[in-house]
Amino acid sequence: MSDSARLVVEGLRARVEGKEILNGVDLVVPTGEVHALMGPNGSGKSTLAYTLLGHPNYEVTGGSASFDGTDLLPLAADERARLGMFLCFQYPTSIPGVSVVNFLRAALKAQGKEMPAREFLRTLSAVMGELKIDESFRSRYINDGFSGGEKKRMEILQLALLRPRLAVLDETDSGLDVDALRTVAEGVDRVRGTDMGVLVITHYPRILEYLRPDAVHVLHRGRVVVSGGHDLARRIEADGYDPILGAGAGTAAREGNP
């Protein structure tokens, strides 16, 4: 493992509601790189996302996870966020009565990224424009009555404003039509950079055509069983998981990361 690596996951095991879901995940996402995490339904992709971000219902039973050299496992979700980790939720919850603008200011403040009011509003306007989010969103309540596409854009809006050092995108592409997908993917593309790692969890290779991942990992039964380049995603799209999982299951786990 190199020193410049940001997210380092080794042998991570976790369970939720008493059920073991992660069975020894090994994964490294270096800064500045985009990694994709694919895998069949139920393979543990979202569990990995929640576990990395510190959801209290996900209990780590073994292994380790660190970010930028800091052990993540003792940290609460807010402490992980303040380290620069970010999760784009697959199903973001609504919080009635809390306006988007107040929430965003509170989040920036919590992360020590507060801006003067005018700068904040200007930045917000610019990012909302890029993401094709209507100005009226500012005063709407968080995700309250949002369509699926609006919720996803709201997540990307936060990503763009909070500028994390590691973003985990949990099926951010699911349920989006082609235009919305392009808007969202371009949004992610715009904020990625040399100082940010991205872990994209997805079922569909389409978003990867926009994001051009540096590496693709396949999660199966709670372990990373195969890793490769962008072409791995294209092979999955063409042939499904069976040929890959049949060939690689069980043996590739330890050599998963390049």
Partner: protein, 470 residues
């Protein structure tokens, strides 16, 4: 010159920043306990006309005859013999803060009243124990004939208006605590808005209890003539004492044809105050009455602001928010009585319980037999912050007319783990996340407040939320 001495009381509620009290500077008080002699002494001290003394004594006998209400909150801790029913803080009412005794003025300074007056109020009345020690009204409103003073002044200086309305909306025998107030009332507000006059910015009354074992019984009468508008705001705090205090107010509102009255309350008594208040309005043709009722403090509150919709197209609105923490029971609600046709009412109640606190919503919608085209909507939502807290809903519907549209919705929910996680994943601490969710839950209420009060309420809530998560 008197030096102000304030004592911080931390033993009961360390988060309640209004729990300090001044040394006793009172100039007169009746003996502890309640008797015809005490009632007569209050009346005599105020040089009241004979009819008011008779009114008070009759009310006292109503009070004594009536049983304690047993259908609501637990009132067994009230010891009527251990209460001072009248404590007069100063010899005279002042029109300048400079004339208010230092210790009392400094208390109101700490409460931010003179500052608020300078910034955004049309008039201020400040009651300290049993009497209003300061009041003012903007000169232009004075010239337009708007009256704003305490009820004693109303009785003395405007007897023709006062007597016409006093006790007509809430008779002395209405309920046990209205009877008690009617017997020993003092201070409060008397507001008269002449026909067509719109008081564009709020009038505020602030009620402060200072003495221990104190009963505060202010009496408020608001008369809005045809086509007028007034927004009246009241706030209240008290020192934290180990023994209980009693606050039992009566508020009567008369909204004449097409008048619009908004009455906003931010109740923040300390956790040793029994707050048992009767509030009722009558709304005539086309009138609009709004009770904006926030209950954060007190040990026990029982309060159900009512609107009698007497004329066609009258509209009533009750928007309430209640917060009950450890040892608190907020038993609050509303009553909308549709007497006339084509009247409408809208009730929105939000309550939060934490730390074993209890909130109850008690509501009554009544539609008289001959009232047609009535519409009413009731929505109450309760949020529980932990397992030990409690919330209950008691909606009563009494519909005697077939031509009505009534909606009622009630929900009780626990604060969502997913909401907390969502906010924490953006860097907010668990307590900040909880406070934000709580603020959001109260948003329908808070957005109705003038900005300064909204800010203050959110700040108070944040204090209440501190240490609420483990």
């Amino acid at each position: 010159m008197t030096m102000a001495v304030t004592v911080e009381a931390h033993e009961l509620t360390k988060d309640y920043k209004f729990g300090f009290h001044d040394i006793d500077v009172s100039v007169f008080r009746t003996e502890k306990g309640l008797s015809p002699e005490v009632v007569a002494a209050i009346s005599a001290h105020k040089n009241e006309p004979e009819w008011m003394l008779k009114f008070r004594l009759k009310a006292l006998s109503h009070f004594r005859k009536r049983a304690m209400p047993s259908w609501g909150a637990d009132l067994s801790g009230i010891d009527f013999d251990n209460i001072y029913y009248y404590v007069k803080p100063t010899e005279e009412q002042s029109r300048s803060w400079d004339d208010v005794p230092d210790s009392i003025r400094q208390t109101f300074d700490r409460l931010g009243i003179p500052e608020a007056e300078r910034k955004f109020l049309a008039g201020v009345s400040a009651q300290y124990d049993s009497e209003v020690v300061y009041h003012s009204i903007r000169e232009d409103l004075d010239k337009l004939g708007v009256l704003f003073g305490d009820c004693d002044t109303g009785l003395r200086d405007h007897p023709e208006i006062f007597r016409k309305y006093f006790g007509t909306v809430i008779p002395a025998n209405d309920n046990k605590f209205a009877a008690l107030n009617s017997a020993v009332w003092s201070g409060g507000s008397f507001v008269y808005v002449p026909k067509g006059v719109r008081v564009d910015i709020p009038l505020q009354a602030y009620f402060r209890i200072n003495s221990d074992n104190m009963g505060q019984f202010e009496r408020t009468l608001i008369i809005a003539e045809e086509g007028s508008y007034v927004h009246y705001i009241e706030g209240c705090t008290a020192p934290t004492y180990s023994s209980d205090s009693l606050h039992s107010a009566v508020v009567e509102i008369i909204a004449h044809k097409d008048a619009h009255v908004r009455y906003t309350t931010i109740q923040n008594w300390s956790n040793n105050v029994y707050n048992l208040v009767t509030k009722r309005a009558v709304a005539y043709e086309g009138a609009r009455v709004e009770w904006i009722d926030g209950n954060l403090g007190s040990k026990v509150t029982m309060k159900y602001p009512a609107i009698y919709l007497m004329g066609e197209h009258a509209h009533g609105e009750v928007l309430s928010a209640a917060f009950a923490g450890e040892g608190q029971h907020q038993d609050a609600g509303s009553k909308c009585i549709h007497v006339a046709s084509n009247t409408t009412s809208n009730v929105v109640s939000r309550s939060i319980s934490k730390g074993g606190g209890r909130t109850s919503y008690r509501g009554h919608i009544k539609v008289h037999e001959k009232a047609t085209g009535v519409r009413s909507s009731v929505r109450c939502d309760a949020l529980l912050l932990d397992e030990e807290s409690q919330s209950d809903t008691y909606p009563y519907m009494d519909i005697d007319s077939p031509d009505v549209s009534i909606g009622h919705e009630a929900t009780v929910s626990k604060i969502g783990d997913e909401q907390i996680f969502y906010l924490m994943s953006r860097g907010l601490s668990e307590s900040d996340a909880t406070a934000l969710i709580v603020n959001g839950f109260f948003e329908p209420f808070v957005k109705e407040l003038p900005m300064e009060y909204a800010v203050e309420l959110n700040r108070l809530l944040a204090v209440q939320m501190e240490g609420s998560v483990g």
